[in-house]
């Protein structure tokens, strides 16, 4: 067993600096690395590039970093639901690169698995494929999309063991597994950290080889963005 545990979020984010590129898991507010985001706010690192499907809401998730103007550039597929984001984008304080969601996933996975780039049909013939290499395979056109390069990946899992093996829950999985091992350092926070052997190896979603640092997070808010219910 190779131990990946660090004592707390402060230790987990050692080495984080101004101007770095981060990957952050989550879809909407589901499965976001809440502890890492709070620590990034506290560290007040600036001029960041953040690769994340969404940009949080005004007062939660990546919205907290936007409020403090810590982010220079966002790479996302969908960024609604955030007034501060909109203001910074329209006033050009914030650089935004919008890319198709499947392309975002594929570029993370390419980085994780050692592919320099992948071909996807998404965005062909649209402004997304402008200035990008395109190629025909069997009569269909594809766009060449490069693997992401990032300094840190901040990932949220449900359960993990001290060897860094991870299990995700529900749709909080989303981009999290794809970002593991896709950056120079992968930092994982889990709701429950257990001893090696406690997780069934058959049920592991991500093996610890993709993880450098793991810790048990605290005070999860797990906010719901759009609460929709039916009556009993």
């Amino acid at each position: 067993m190779i131990r990946k545990t660090v004592a707390n979020v402060e230790d987990a984010l050692q080495g984080v600096e101004n101007g770095m590129t981060f990957m952050l898991g989550g879809f909407g507010l589901s499965g976001i690395p809440e502890n890492a985001i709070s620590e990034l706010v506290r560290l007040n690192v600036k001029n960041l590039t953040c690769i994340s499907n969404n940009a949080g809401v005004d007062d939660f998730g990546l919205g907290l970093l936007l409020q403090k103007k810590q982010i220079d550039k966002m790479v996302s597929s969908y960024v609604g639901e955030n007034d501060e984001f909109e203001r910074q984008m329209l006033s050009e304080e914030l650089d935004v690169e919008l890319i198709p969601q499947g392309t975002l996933a594929a570029r993370c996975q390419a980085a994780q698995q050692g592919f320099p780039a992948i071909y996807t049909p998404a965005g062909y013939g649209t402004e997304v494929s402008q200035f990008k290499e395109t190629r025909e395979f069997d009569g269909k056109m594809y766009v060449l999309e490069k693997a992401f390069k990032a300094d840190f990946a901040f990932v949220k899992a449900w359960k993990g063991d001290k060897a860094g093996n991870l299990i995700f829950k529900g749709t909080a999985r989303n981009f999290n597994p794809l970002m593991c091992g896709a950056a120079k350092v992968t930092v994982v926070e889990v709701e429950e950290l257990v001893e090696p052997g406690e997780l069934d190896p058959n049920q592991i979603h991500i093996p610890g080889i993709f993880v450098q640092r793991i810790f048990e997070g605290k005070n999860y808010e797990k906010r719901i963005e759009k609460r929709t219910v039916r009556k009993k």
């Binding site: 589901s30 969908y78 749709t171 929709t228 219910v229």
Partner: protein, 223 residues
Amino acid sequence: MTKDKFMLDKDGIAKRIAEEVKDGYYVNLGIGIPTLVANFVRNDIEVEFQSENGILGMGPFPFEGEEDADLINAGKQTITALPGASFFDSAMSFGMIRGQHVDLTILGAMEVAENGDIANWKIPGKMVKGMGGAMDLVASAENIIVAMMHTNKAGDSKLLKKCSLPLTGVACVTKIVTNLAVIEVTKDGFKLLERAPGVSVEEIKKATEGKLLVEGNIPEMKL
């Protein structure tokens, strides 16, 4: 313009599209009118709904008090998982879509062109929220139905010769269901298949900027 009482409302559009959902289909529903389609699918057929954030076998909204922050759909709404459901990561989700394992994609649009081009993600000069998964869906899916109003709020046609807005995908839409009509996209243009109850062919023609092919008698939709 047609009198409002004859046009379909959003539920009417969703109800008509539900007829296109066949036994054994895996279906991806976009945000807006497409989401309503789930309410009208026959219950004597087996269908699974995919949400691209990572679930197959999506169920209805949870009962009050049973909401789970770890269980949402692509519209970020709390949902449930039906028996037989599965969860997966975003790469596998778009693998299902790109690999054409999803049988039917239903999404909204701002504009559709007579060659099947679709624009639904960006209005230049206005707030741009992003394409989400729409570009992946339209680039790969073989069976794409657009659910939308026939005209925009200003009364201008949304079925055009050529899209004026930035494209989401090229030559990809197969069918369009609007408040006025069911239209198939063919290599020769928009082919009128059905009229909304009480709506005339003339009224549909007037509301369609792109080339509208009308062959023989056009039946009314059966709802």
